[in-house]
């Protein structure tokens, strides 16, 4: 197997501390096409930022900014 990418946390790299749930497009990067939150072993996000990200996504879901599940499946 190829062990190429050492993934790093995008929030740490970009020094991005804005975890506001209103940034729909930002959080779209972290959910898959089913609407599930992508685990951090795949995105490389660090634990601290993954926790914040999760909160943001869940808040956005409540306000119907992000889907709980995708249209296709329903």
């Amino acid at each position: 197997m190829l062990r190429t990418k050492i993934k790093v946390c995008k929030f740490c790299v970009n020094k991005d501390e804005d975890f506001n749930y209103k940034h729909e497009r930002k959080w779209r990067m972290f959910i898959n096409e089913r609407g599930k939150i992508i685990p951090r072993r795949m995105t490389g996000t660090c634990a601290k930022h993954q926790r914040k990200l999760t909160t943001s996504i869940k808040r956005a879901r409540y306000l119907a900014i992000l889907p709980f599940t995708s249209e296709m499946i329903r």
């Binding site: 197997m1 970009n14 209103k22 940034h23 096409e33 306000l63 119907a64 900014i65």
Partner: protein, 181 residues
């Protein structure tokens, strides 16, 4: 006094006057409860990610204000009674960053402040696109069974550790199970 951030979604089928009536009503009631407004943002009509009360569109409004913590409960109770408000949420405002979202402004005021968030978010998109390209190349070389794996995450599994490969297999099985049902 604490700073709060209340977002609520007004039924998208209402016309502008009705919307403004609602916004004004809650603005007043919050002021009555001792709230001091920083800013009101009319985020505008958006498509809801899922239907709420059979509505597909909602008008998003954000209140930024400071108020006593005791004022929040009666304010939310009032909102709850209004059937034209599909959703509302109050959180503490952390005040670190300006909101990079579009403000339609009040009708007639012609204030359309476009502080779009695209610039801020661009690095994210670029990153993910790069990753995608890399993986496409590698995974095509390595394995040919990537027909159903379209998403970024599932592609990434292919060139990751064995551990995550296992979990990836689990996931695809899950998906197949669900589809069978």
């Amino acid at each position: 006094m604490k700073k709060y951030d209340t977002t609520f979604v007004i039924d998208g089928t209402l016309d502008q006057n009705q919307r403004e009536e609602i916004i004004e009503k809650y603005e007043k009631s919050l002021k009555k409860l001792g709230g001091e407004f920083d800013r009101i943002i009319r985020w505008g009509m958006r498509k809801l990610a899922y239907e709420i009360k059979k509505r597909t569109h909602g008008y998003y409004v954000i209140f930024y204000y400071s108020a006593e913590p005791s004022a929040i409960k009666p304010f939310e109770a009032e909102m709850k009674l209004n059937e034209n408000i599909l959703r509302f949420m109050t959180i503490l405002f952390d005040g670190k960053h300006p909101e990079n979202i579009r403000d339609e402004g009040a009708p007639g005021s012609e204030k359309i402040v476009t502080v779009d968030s695209t610039e801020d978010i661009q690095p994210f998109e670029d990153d993910s696109l790069e990753i995608d390209d890399d993986i496409d190349m590698e995974s095509v070389d390595d394995e040919s069974d990537s027909d159903e794996t379209e998403s970024l995450n599932e592609d990434e599994i292919d060139d990751d550790d064995e551990e995550s490969e296992l979990s990836g297999d689990d996931e695809t099985e899950d998906i197949q199970d669900k589809e069978d049902k």
